[in-house]
Symmetry: C2
Subunit: 244 residues, 2 copies
Amino acid sequence: MAIKDGDFVRVNFTGKIKENDEVFDTTYDEIAQEAEIFDENKTYKPIPIVVGGNHLLPAIEKEIVGLEAGERKTVEVDSDNGFGPRDPKAIQLIPMKEFKKQGMTPYPGMRIQAEGGEGRILTVNGGRVKVDFNHPLAGKDLIYDVEVTEIIEDNEEKIKSMIELHYSNPNVDLEKTEISIEDGVVDIQLDEMAKFDQQSYMDITFARFRIAKDIWENIEEVTKVNFVDAFEKREESDDEEDEE
Amino acid sequence: MAIKDGDFVRVNFTGKIKENDEVFDTTYDEIAQEAEIFDENKTYKPIPIVVGGNHLLPAIEKEIVGLEAGERKTVEVDSDNGFGPRDPKAIQLIPMKEFKKQGMTPYPGMRIQAEGGEGRILTVNGGRVKVDFNHPLAGKDLIYDVEVTEIIEDNEEKIKSMIELHYSNPNVDLEKTEISIEDGVVDIQLDEMAKFDQQSYMDITFARFRIAKDIWENIEEVTKVNFVDAFEKREESDDEEDEE
C-alpha cells in the first residue's frame, strides 16, 4: 500500500552535495567507508521515521509519500528547503588573542565551538582569524537517494521504532522492551539496563517526551504514554540460589 | 500502641559525644544553631525511619521499640555500637610535597579528601603531614536524645515517608505524589518536577531501589513497586477541533 503521512517506515538514505557529489551523510556502511565519513560509534542500518514527523528534512519526507515498501527515489532538495541560505553575517573576525587565551593555535579548516555555535576557520591572517559559523550545508543544493525498506504496521513495533530513534543506548536491548496498549494508554517498560544510564534524568525526560509525542500524534486513540520502572521483591528461592 | 520492629515513625534526635557533651548532629533547628553546626541546606524537622530498617544506628532503633508516640528516651551508644573503634593504621604520614603538588597549604584541623576517604590533619611537621582518616566519631561513646513524634499508620503515608527519606529534592513537592496500591503492586507517580532532576538516571535508580526495598520489606503483601512517568497528550482547544 502506498505510504501516507503518519506512516511509520524504515528508510536508508545517502545525502550528497549536488555541485560536487560529495557524500555528507548515509545509512549505508560501505558508502560511509568509501566517502571516508565512516563513524565507528554509529550503526549503519535503515532508520525508523514517521513520515511527516520532521525526523528527516520535510522536503524528503514529502517525497516519501506515495512510495511502496522496497521503492527507491532520488530527491533534489534546494538549499532553501535544506539547511537554509548562507548568511554573510555568520562569518566573523575574531582576534587571535582570544584563541591564545585558551591555548589554541588556529589553522584553516579547524572546527571550533563558540557561543555562536560550531564554526570553521576560513583564514588566519596576522592578528585576525576569520570564522564561518554557517551550517556546513548552508547554501548547498542537496541530493538524497532514499530507499524505503519497510512499512511498520504493528503498533508495538511502531512504538519500539520511536524508542530506537530517540533513545538509542548500546547497553539497552530494545528486544527486552515490554509494551502494553490499553484504553489509549501505552505502558513502556524498557530493558532493566536502561535504569543504569548515566545521563541526567532530565535528558532522558526529553527523549521520553519525543517518543511519547510521536506515539500519540501518529497512533490512533493513544492519549497517554507511561514509562514504568519496576522494582520487584526477589523470590526467597532466588536469594538462596544467590547465596550458593 | 507500643512501637515494634517494622513500624514507620518520625523521630527527632540530638547526638552528643559522651565525654564532652559536644553536639555533632541534631534534627532541631535551635540546637543546631546553639552548637554552631547549623547547615542552611538542611531542613530541621523530624525524620521518617523504619524501626529496624538501618536508617539510624541499629543500637538506637532497638531502643525505639516499645516506645509510644510522643515519648522521649536517652540512649547511650558505646563506640563499638556507634562508629567503631579508632584504627591507629588510619593515621598516615603524607609528604608535604603531595600537598604542594595540588597547591594546598595544610594546617592542623584542615579536612581533606583523599583515596582513603575524608581525613583530618593532625599536625604539620617540616616535610611531613599527619592525617587521621578515622571517622571523626570513631572510638567515641555517644549519647542520643530521641523523641518519637509520630507513628505513621496509613500505607500511602508510609510510602511517602520513604520517598522523603531517600529522595529529597527541593524542587519536588511530595504532596503532589500520586500513589496507588493494588494486588501487592505499588504505583508511584512523583510530582511532575521530578522529571527534570539533573542527577544521573543511575543515581535516581539507586534512590528508587532503596524506597522500593523499604516498602516491600515493611508493608504487608507488597511485592512490586513501579515508578511511573506519565506523558499526556494535551487536550486540544475547541478552536483547534473546529478547524479539523
